[in-house]
């Protein structure tokens, strides 16, 4: 999958950097450290800009090429920042046959962005995600940690409005 690389300038804080260094130190003796450290780095920064990948590479003493290879291979690693509210629409089979594709299209139309993009005001980002395993509630979408299930296309606008005015 082609990844969208962000052009937004990096703005990490010293606190974040200290946290990252801690995470790196905790995994130094671990032979397969790159993935767990990148996962923690993404927790800290929200995404993995090249500057962060560079710190991970130097900290773990592995080539940047290897770190970049890993961060672009796995779909969970984001190279561009997410919005304040990240909307994930499940495109697993159970959700798809119950019309989650239409829900994704509706969101795309309402927000004016394509999947994997973020609105210019940084409020919403849209992701098409793989099965989250809540197939009993299909079709499902999540906004940050909130789960909305048994959806119809008509409900989508109301849900978004709740966050717009929040």
């Amino acid at each position: 999958m082609q990844k969208k690389i962000s052009s937004i300038p990096f703005s990490g804080t010293p606190e974040q950097e200290a946290k990252l260094k801690e995470a790196i130190a905790a995994h130094l003796d671990d032979p397969g450290a790159v993935m767990p450290v990148l996962q923690e780095a993404q927790e800290i920064y929200g995404y993995l800009p090249i500057e962060v990948q560079q710190m991970v590479a130097e900290g773990l003493n592995v080539p940047l090429e290897e770190v970049y290879g890993v961060s672009t291979f796995y779909s969970q690693f984001a190279l561009s920042p997410k919005g304040k509210y990240n909307i994930s629409v499940c495109l697993g089979t159970a959700c798809y046959v119950k019309g989650s594709g239409d829900i994704l299209n509706k969101l795309s139309e309402l927000l004016g962005i394509e999947p994997e993009e973020c609105t210019p005001d940084g409020q919403f980002s849209l992701t098409a995600c793989r099965c989250i395993g809540a197939c009993g509630l299909a079709p499902v979408l999540t906004i940050n940690d909130d789960v909305y299930g048994r959806l119809t296309v008509d409900q989508v606008e109301g849900i978004i409005d709740k966050y717009k005015n929040a």
Partner: protein
């Protein structure tokens, strides 16, 4: 001792519909009524009947409350827990029979099930090791370490006939035997909990509902092959499962059931968690091991097989969560008990995740050899809204679509392959007449194109070419020659891809071509999508005899494709409208606007 136990489902399905708030409210109300010493609230794993979530069961009565809301809790506490009067109105209606209340096990959903791998899901509190020990937990590990030799353990698993539940169906005992035969200073036991097949969630439910069963089985496997280290590779998308595994590992350490010198036998075994990061190919064994090593999860050619050179180049076994969930029971109850269930070549039970167009979405565990018809129409409660069954899809992106004519085939590994699908990890998605089979094939190919790791050409380029042809067909640009080309390409990809992902990726195309060729032909020759899914092939038409001539649709049409005609239907006052198909962009705005249902698509 408590006089009542209230079990609330804390699986992902029910949590998503707020079951944790229900637990909170329950505890609050119980305290307010001063019942906290009499009534115990337990958060359990998945009950299986996710369609009715959130689920709550009160014992000793066994009252099954379904679709519980936070607002219902005060009434349930007041009436049922305080005064002993079951709130019949809120029960799962199938358990209510006139004046009596049926046992849950007698309902259509549960009656035909046989729970082995899921035996503790929805029964125990997965965050308490004592609950697991109370149901014979870790007894199998004790038995193995104190009474059996590694060879005897392997022989028992071989005799049971257990085959890998992750998809390929390789005999588990054989895998262990190969790894045991290789000498090395370090061996590994791995658990594949990277359940990437969209629509399958049985492994997640086992991890959420009964995590210790997996830890115990891995320790048993470690003893059998001579390994002291284990890794569980679990999807990061399953936060509840990850949390419960972490708790379980910690508790097992505290009880001396993991770590050094287990049961004072000198056997050491430890387990680490590794989180996946969303790559479907990591379900393939060599990819998964490469990923545990922290690298890009690309597969490599076999041989050498992992039993010879696996993780960090050491002998390794990898089994799936559901496979492990069977192990302790086989050790305790014997190989013959397990082999007495199922068909000649597929023993035991299998868990299926029912999803899609089916009334009882959820998890079911049935003996091998049960027919699809029983699963879909008896256990699953049939198709909602009176629609017609079209196909059942098993095996996810590696499997195929099974049409109605094969509904009576007894399900086992070999029969499913014979009808062009596969067991896979056990996702079972039901489709009805509104699903277009060409679109479904396209959906799975989009998935595999996205998830192909790119290492080998047949998979990387072959699946892309297949998808392009499918896209053309769904747009009405297909030719009949394309069908033959596709089939040829499918067999080429299957024969030449490096790993299981590519070798099975064409299955959705092949099986739909085999059973639903008429739908492909309708797309190609008639330029029509019979199910009304493929947008480019839809035609919107106005029934002029139903049209009142209000003109609302023409106002709404963004493309200016609707105009007034000079025909006025009998009994109507204004002339009817019509759609110019050459201008229509098929947005559907007109259908939504028409109050008289005069517009149809097809």
């Amino acid at each position: 001792m408590y006089r009542s136990n209230v079990l609330v489902c804390g699986g992902t399905g029910c949590t998503s519909s707020n079951s944790l708030k229900i637990v909170e409210k329950l505890k609050e109300e119980i305290k307010a009524k001063g019942l906290e010493k009499e009534v115990n609230v337990i958060t359990t794993g998945c009950f299986g009947l996710c369609a009715l979530g959130p689920i709550m069961v009160v014992y000793p009565e066994g009252s099954f409350y379904s679709m519980v809301k936070v607002e219902d809790i005060p009434e349930i506490v007041e009436e049922h827990l305080l005064k002993g009067r079951i709130v019949t109105r809120l029960l799962y209606q199938e358990t209510v029979e006139e004046d009596t209340i049926k046992s849950l096990n007698k309902t259509a959903f549960y009656a035909k099930q046989k729970r082995v791998a899921l035996r503790n899901c929805g029964v125990i509190d997965p965050e308490k090791i004592d609950d697991y020990i109370a149901v014979d937990g870790y007894a199998a590990l004790g038995k193995v370490l104190t009474e059996m030799t590694p060879e005897q353990v392997i022989q028992t698993i071989l005799d049971s006939g257990l085959r890998g539940r992750g998809g390929a169906g390789f005999p588990t005992g054989l895998k262990w035997k190969f790894a045991a035969a290789n000498d090395a200073d370090q061996k590994y036991v791995c658990c594949n909990a990277d359940e990437g097949d969209p629509g399958a969630f049985m492994d997640r439910s086992v991890l959420e509902g009964d995590p210790h069963a997996v830890l115990e089985a891995m320790a048993i496997a470690g003893y059998a092959i001579g390994a002291s280290k284990g890794y569980i590779y679990v999807r990061a998308e399953y936060p509840i499962a990850v949390k419960r595994l972490q708790i379980a590992i910690k508790q097992a350490h505290e009880y001396g059931l993991l770590g050094d010198d287990i049961f004072s036998t000198g056997f050491n075994f430890d387990i680490q968690l590794r989180l996946g990061a969303g790559a479907f190919v990591c379900g393939e064994e060599t990819s998964l091991m490469t990923s545990i090593e922290g690298k890009r999860g690309e597969p490599r050619p076999r041989p050498p097989f992992p039993a010879v050179k696996g993780l960090y180049q050491k002998p390794t076994i990898l089994n799936n969560v559901e496979t492990y969930a069977n192990i302790a029971q086989i050790i305790l109850k014997g190989a013959d008990w397990f082999a007495s269930m199922g068909t000649e070549k597929s023993k035991g039970t299998k868990v299926f995740a029912l999803g899609g167009k089916i009334n009882h979405t959820g998890l079911v565990e049935i003996p091998m050899g049960t027919t699809l018809r029983e699963i879909v129409f008896e256990i699953g409660g049939g198709i909602p809204n009176g629609k017609k069954f079209k196909a059942a899809q098993t095996g996810g992106p590696s499997g195929g679509c099974i049409p109605e004519e094969h509904l009576d085939v007894p399900i086992d590994y070999d029969n499913l392959i014979a009808i062009g699908s596969m067991m896979g990890s056990g996702g079972l998605i039901v489709m009805d007449e509104d699903n277009c089979m060409v679109d479904v094939a396209k959906f799975f190919l989009e998935f595999t194109v996205d998830e192909s790791c790119g290492k080998c050409t047949p998979c990387r380029i072959g699946t892309k070419r297949l998808l392009e042809m499918l896209e053309k067909i769904t747009k009405g640009q297909g030719t009949m020659e394309m069908l033959d080309e596709m089939e040829e390409l499918c067999y080429y990809i299957k024969a030449n891809s490096l790993c299981g992902l590519g070798q099975t990726a064409p299955n959705p195309v092949l099986s739909t071509l085999r059973y639903f060729k008429d739908e492909y032909i309708a797309h190609i020759v008639d330029k029509k999508c019979p199910a009304g899914v493929c947008k480019e092939l839809l035609q919107y038409t106005i029934d002029k005899d139903k049209c009142f001539g209000c003109g609302m649709c023409a106002k709404k049409c963004p493309a200016g494709a609707i105009s007034v005609t000079d025909y006025t239907a009998p009994g109507k006052k204004k002339p009817a409208y019509e759609i110019d198909p050459s201008k229509c962009i098929k947005c559907g705005a007109c259908i939504d606007t028409c109050k008289f249902k005069a517009i149809s698509k097809g």
